[in-house]
């Protein structure tokens, strides 16, 4: 164990600040009548922005990754990039939560505190360099998310979502931990780089320990990113959870899980490369196929977006599959674009949503182009981006992922990818059909915006279009997120 330098704690200032913010909100929220929703939202926005600034200033990233605190954590471009993306996703989630927290009869401080704590977990996670520290961070994220999914305490569906999420999530965490312990047993190492170095020898001496270990580790990670066949929790949780929470799970939580999946595979298991590539190729294929096919028949927008997020997990896996420099960049760029696109789409769901889950059906979008042309246009942009049609960030991102797969010689997986994304047009455009081609009826819910929601949607639209038309600077930004490859 290398010596412990207490000054290294300063380098964790962003995470510490965010955790303090979360705890402060939690305390303030439980004193007396708690903090009003808007105050809580403003406070969490403040903490998020301050944290982002700290990430940009304190965490000086040199060309070489810097291991800190006994190599539990690492400061590198990869961690920094994903921390910023996650913070952006959380900030947008806060914006789209304002109205819904106001509407609810629940304490606002609690909600925002949990959001900040989950985000803290994510930030530790993407910076984790040790299987144990990664696991603890992941649990901080997961436990906060379980509670968030059940935030509507008196709604059965919300309870159901939380319970399902908790039971299955705990199971997957256990599998992940067990896998990690097997690898530790075989190699005696928890640090990713040392683990990678020790694996070849352990494969010989440890026999079944290593394959069982890394497979269980993969199952746990693939569960977190909702890849088929470990996706069954997703639709129910996404539908049952309050919509802003769903958006948070689909964007920030997924981004963080992908980041750590990539880090563990690329930095911890590079010596098993050919083996896990086959597994990832299979998982990516069935995920793209099943996610898109299952989405075809959905009439509930949240459920459709849940399946769509499963499908998108499949696309992102293409970048990991390539296991190349381009592959890593493409994953980073795609998750950046995907954060804005998904949050935008879910923000539109919030706009139409009423209490008790009304306004979530595809038919509730009927005639939206007449009643709210700008909102309809925004939704159209998100739908195009989700399908992967220019001029949107979704298009550039998908091209990037497919390019990575083609370059690495996985053309057949790329073929599945392009064909399934063509199929996805059908269900995404069932919403466009309602918005532009159908007339509204008396029962159609009126869109109900708020300044915060409008700001969130506008940000997402602008980001989606800029990422599609002028992606240059953002690609360079994503390129800073490269990891040293085997």
């Amino acid at each position: 164990m290398p010596a412990f330098d207490l000054r290294e704690f300063l380098l964790l200032a962003p995470e510490i600040l965010l955790a303090i913010g979360g705890l402060a909100l939690l305390l303030a929220g439980s004193v007396g009548r708690g903090v009003p929703g808007r105050v809580a939202a403003s406070l969490s926005l403040f903490f998020l922005v301050a944290t982002a600034l700290l990430v940009l200033t304190v965490e000086e990233v040199g060309p070489e990754p810097r291991l800190i605190l006994g190599s539990s954590f690492v400061l590198d471009g990869f961690a920094r990039f994903f921390k910023l993306v996650i913070l952006a996703g959380t900030a947008l989630t806060v914006l789209i939560s304002v109205r819904f927290v106001d509407d609810g009869a629940y304490r606002a401080g609690e909600y925002h505190a949990l959001l900040l704590l989950a985000t803290t977990g994510m930030m530790f996670m993407v910076g984790g360099f040790n299987l144990v520290s990664i696991w603890i961070a992941l649990e901080l994220m997961a436990l906060s998310s379980y509670i968030l999914a059940g935030y509507f305490k008196r709604e059965t569906r919300s309870n159901e979502a939380a319970l399902k999420y908790f039971v299955l999530g705990a199971l997957s965490s256990a599998i992940l931990l067990y896998g990690a312990s097997l690898l530790y047993g075989a190699t005696g190492e928890l640090r990713l780089d040392l683990l990678a170095a020790a694996l070849p020898e352990a494969m010989v001496t440890g026999r079944l320990l290593v394959p069982t270990g890394w497979l269980m580790l993969s199952v746990g990670l693939l569960f977190k990113v909702a890849a088929v066949p470990f996706h069954v929790w997703t639709p129910d949780v996404y539908v049952g959870a309050p919509t802003p929470v769903t958006a948070y799970l689909a964007a920030a939580s997924k981004t963080a899980s992908f980041a750590i999946l990539v880090r563990i595979f690329v930095q911890g298991l590079p010596t098993l490369l050919p083996d896990w590539q086959i597994v990832i190729a299979a998982v990516a294929s069935v995920t793209m196929i099943w996610g898109n096919l299952a989405a075809l028949t959905q009439t509930n927008v949240k459920r459709m977006l849940a399946y769509s997020s499963i499908a998108h997990a499949g696309y992102v896996l293409l970048g990991l599959l390539a296991a190349s420099v381009i592959g890593l960049w493409s994953v980073a760029f795609y998750l950046l674009a995907y954060t804005f696109i998904t949050l935008g789409a879910f923000a539109m769901v919030v706009v139409l949503e009423r209490r008790e889950y009304a306004g979530e059906e595809v038919s509730d979008y009927a005639g939206l182009a007449r009643r709210a042309p700008w909102l309809a246009a925004a939704m159209l942009v998100f739908l195009l981006a989700l399908t992967g049609i220019p001029p949107t960030g979704g298009f550039v991102g998908k091209v990037y992922l497919f390019a990575a797969a083609v370059e690495a010689g996985w053309t057949w997986v790329a073929v599945i990818g392009v064909l399934t994304s063509a199929i996805s047009l059908y269900y995404y455009f069932s919403i466009a059909v309602q918005m532009y081609l159908k007339e509204s009826t008396r029962d159609t819910p009126e869109p109900l915006g708020s300044p915060a929601l409008t700001a969130a949607i506008a940000t997402c639209v602008v980001a989606t279009l800029v990422l599609g038309l002028f992606p240059g600077p953002f690609i360079e930004f994503a390129q800073a997120a490269g990891l040293p490859l085997p």
Partner: protein, 531 residues
Amino acid sequence: MFDWAHTIPILSIVCYLPLVGAVAILAFLRGSSASTVRRFATGVAGLDFLVSLPLWWAFQRDGELFQFRESAGWIEAIGARYEFGVDGIALLLVLLTTFLGFLAFLSSWSAIQEREREYYIFLLLLQTGMLGVFMSLDFFLFYVFWEVMLVPMYFLIGIWGGPRKLYAAIKFFLYTLVGSVLMLLGILALYFFNGDGLLAWPGLGGDATFSVLRFHEIASQIPPDLQFWIFLAFFVGFAIKVPMIPFHTWLPDAHVEAPTAGSVILAGVLLKMGTYGFVRFSLPILPEATRELLPWMIGLSIGGILYGALVAMAQKDVKKLVAYSSVSHLGFVMLGIFALNPAGLNGGILQMINHGLSTGALFLLVGILYERRHTRLISEFGGLSKVMPAYATVFLIITMASIGLPTLNGFIGEFTILVGVFERSWVWAALAAFGIVLGAAYMLWMYQRVFFGPVRHEENQGLRDLNGRELACVLPLVVLCFWIGLYPKPFFEILEQPVEYIVQRVDPGYAEALAAARPGELPAVVAGSGE
């Protein structure tokens, strides 16, 4: 006198003027009446046509292959650039687009009565998308325009279409999207072949590129099996667009359900994007695969000619008949292109223009009739030549143009194609010629049933003849049909250089033989190709 066109970014202006118009409608004409929007949009389209006109005179027939070049960095990290430029082929198609586009706007005045603001916005966006496709010399840029254009077309069919519009719109979108995403993989394969893997990725300091001209240059280095796969990927994308059988089934649906202007643009311009794709990309970049798969391409083309004609003959609906006639005519275009010799390519490309003019005019005319009677069934008409003499006359001229009667444009195109095809094989030529006979049969039979005989239906007695605006829509097309029919020389002149360039790329042996036969002519092209 039009030299100034070379000094300004005229292609970008032509391409984005409609987009600016659409944004202006969105931003400034919010509360305006429908007629203001209509006039404004038509004005923008007309202006766009006027701006594009100088291209015709400023283009130097013996100058560089691609002219009016514009070049700027775009996404440096992946080597995608903003590259515009036109050769003779693209130039003709650009002019066809702005011209037919303007007429389509004009024809919509009475046909579109609801949600006009949105209609004209989508139509303007469509113009920008199509123009960009023909102007792009960067494959990435090309692909962006190629896909962007699908969205407004989808809404044009879906909102203002006929009874089965939803089905037709999504079918159109899905079909073309499936084709284009496979094409994207082909583009990526080319990109990585040229870039030779990771090291050339610009993010790592390499110089990977999507430049079409660069791909033309490396064509001979691409190994045959890679060529084969890329050709197939491109083929799916382009063949669906053309459409070649068996990928044509979206076309009758989309054509019949689309509003008149949509059909005009669909038939006149959109289908040409497929044939243009073959000419610009498949042939020069993948010559070996082209030659290897030639029998299949010829077979599908001839199959399309005959099948389209036979199915057209069986139609009860005039619009559907015209739609299937497109399948047949586009088969001709493809046949000419795949003759891989100057005559065939010249004819094929000219026939692209001809088909745009005559089929565009036919859709306009059918639309005019539909507005009056709200039916397009042949059996509902008869004897119209007595009630609408002017209409009948124009219709007759266009019918003849479509059949290929001498003095009209169709004849020139089909004849040149046949000359080219005959050079390759008389059997193909004979089969194709049989398609012309069938074409004459279904068009004349339809004309006879609609216009001759007694007026059998009371409703047809009081039909109004063409009004001034309608005549203004169709007459320019008639004039152009005669121009190409009587004096096609300017068109062949502008096509000569690009066509020889393509022949030289796709069939160097033929080009050498040609040079031996006509010493002194080819070097000019070779010089141009080095560009």
